[in-house]
Amino acid sequence: MSTLSFDNVVNQGLALYEFRKGGRSMTDYKLRLPVGGLVNARSTAMAVLGLVVALVGAACSGGAGGGGGTAGSTTITMAAVDNPQMEDLAKLLPNFESAHSNIHVNIVTLPEDQLRQQVTTDVAAKSGRFDLFTEGTYEVPIWAKNGWIVDLTPYIAKDASYDPGDLIPGIKGALSYKGDLYAVPFYGESSMLMYRKDLLSAKGITMPDHPTWDQVAAAANAVNSSSVSGICLRGLPGWGEQLAPLDTVVNTFGGRWFDQSWNAQLTSPAWHDALSFYVNLLKSAGEPGAGNAGFTECLNAYNSGKVAMWYDATVGASNFTGTAATNSGYAYAPTKLTPYSGWLWSWALGIPSTSTKKDAAWTFIDWATSKDYIKLVGTKLGWSHVPPGTRTSTYALSDYQAAAGGFAQVTLDSIAHADVMHSTVDPVPYIGVQYVDIPEFQQLGDQVSQEFAKVIAGNESVDQALQKANALAAAVGKAYQGS
């Protein structure tokens, strides 16, 4: 045991080469060595030095991807979620910068999960990396309460043409805290059922405007074939992905996350029925790879005609192409025990309290959420690209009605009937339609949806998953009991 020692290692190294003795002077060794070893040492060193100088120069001068702008100009950094409306915003950035030459906007686009994580870390740790960001109806009340984001009321008041009264009431309410707007909506959505009229009518099915889930399931199973799946539903784990539609199903089946005393309710019959229904529907008529299907995957599947129906965000319809665009019908979110079941969500723009460039940030936000921006998108990029669900005036524009006619009304109505305060059959102590507006929900929702993903993959039973999920929820609920 004692021979396994370090000193041995070091000595062995030297000892091994005692054997290779030969020649005593340095010159002898020089001759024995391959030429390359010596000759290029100096030139390599020179080359490396040159490279260092070049790199340091590159790093110092203007830097990579940052700074820039002429003297007197401000650069603001924006964290944006990578959805189509944001991409359009990035495309129209030159319009903003030419009108406001002293403000330069750096947009950092990230997929939703990462964006949330980065921005949450940033506000919570007060690192001040961003001057403005996209945040959702979930974050705004929580962050406003913590004082992490800026109350925008004074800023709105400064702009006479902003017209906050034009903002759709449900959305406006969801983005307010104690009556003040802490973020302004960039786009808003509810959920609805989108379906291929042609594929359904080929099987003799017509979809009513307010279908029940049973009707939808029957239709999906009837249309389902080996080449076209009946329906696409999100299965991708994530509280903002799979749990969003699933939660609306739970709500309309009579379930809720917590009762008025913050007891977790996930083992209730309503939850059992809702989850079983969702999973079974996916199994019998759902898209393959449901476990990985989020909004994007379902959109792609629907657009390529691989699924006949899709229950998801109203904004999905704005991205239809080809046959899907011309042959789609739209129905309200399917229900069971409640009259409406669509969710409510909005991606809004807010300013962190740590920002040192609040005025510049507001100027940009003002521009991006104004009535003029809506018209700009419509004329420059097409009316179907207009961010939906923010302003009532949008829906009065005839051009928009023409382009989005099919789903505009359903969208507007669904948003109007989605109430973050009253979305379940029984009363609840929390707000939120497809989420529970507490800070712990991010982790709780993600963990619970991971368990459900296991069920979808066929590796766990519904009851097992609900047991685990309930335990997790109960642990979270405890902190709120007695408050």
Binding site: G36, L55, A79, T296, T321
Partner: protein, 274 residues
């Protein structure tokens, strides 16, 4: 007869070899091919095997703001690698040639830090970086990558140094060389291939590093992996663009590894027995 049998066996084993290598190389090839397709082709079912290559998606990827990401990656990788050599070479020297008392403990300490799950120190480092204004600053990444690669660098360099015959140093000392002279005239020329191998390995790991890059940078200092991930789009099909971006992001390290293969092998096998 024996020759024919040997040739047959040669061809047989070559075929097996090529098949195995093809299977391993195929995903890389598929990545390149997907980048050369149009979006509908990249996401077609059944998958498109024969198609007319087009550079449209590559152009789209390149038309975005990609140089800053690559420059940042270059700065972080090369910067940290240089720092590893500058710090590591003297340390390796001290551990190999002129053993310090307690060398064993020191080397153990170095190597044990490499075993530490770096996720453990993520939060304290993040908060420290925030306080030092190092968030979204490329120097933070340089420092972190140096920390990650230094132990490996010291170990590798020490192994290379152990190759140098002891007498060379004695001869140098006899010739009256001081420490730096010894280092410059004796050690560095002999160890250049070793330094090259160490540099290459450090470069590979720094360039491909994702965890710290994504948590410590956002826009100014964002590196290549973040550029890649930005192509996971919320709108429509993105697979061809993603493949194109993946090809571009992997290209520098792939080229470096391919060109300096021999160095890579020497680096990896150093410390095995020699």
């Amino acid at each position: 007869m024996a020759t024919m049998a040997r040739n047959r066996s040669r061809i047989l084993w070559s075929a097996v070899g090529w098949l195995v290598v093809f299977v391993f190389f195929f995903p890389v090839l598929w990545m390149w091919l997907e980048g050369l397709k149009t979006e509908p082709q990249a996401a077609s079912s059944p998958p498109t095997i024969f198609f007319v290559p087009t550079l449209t998606e590559f152009q789209t990827v390149l038309s975005g703001d990609f140089p800053p990401f690559f420059i940042n990656s270059a700065i972080a990788s090369i910067g940290s690698t240089l720092l590893v050599v500058v710090l590591g070479l003297p340390a390796a020297y001290a551990l190999a040639i002129r053993p310090v008392p307690k060398s064993r403990d020191v080397l153990f300490f170095f190597i044990s830090t490499r075993f530490l799950p770096f996720a453990a120190s993520l939060v304290p480092l993040y908060l420290l970086a925030r306080d030092l204004q190092l968030l979204d600053n490329i120097f933070a990444l340089i420092l972190i990558y140096t920390t990650i690669n230094l132990p490996l660098g010291v170990w590798l360099l020490r192994s290379f140094l152990l190759e140098i015959p002891h007498d060379l140093f004695e001869a140098a000392r006899v010739d009256g060389a001081g420490f730096f002279n010894e280092l410059y005239r004796v050690v560095i020329p002999l160890i250049t291939p070793g330094i090259a191998a160490t540099c290459l390995i450090c470069l590979i790991f720094s360039w491909n590093e994702f965890f710290y890059a994504v948590n410590f940078t956002s826009s100014v200092a964002a590196t290549a992996p973040i550029f890649l991930v930005s192509f996971i789009s919320g709108r429509g099909l993105f697979y061809a663009k993603l493949a194109a971006a993946a090809t571009l992001a992997s290209l520098p390290v792939l080229m470096a590894g391919w060109i300096a293969q021999k160095q890579l092998i020497r680096g990896l096998t150093m410390g095995a027995v020699k």
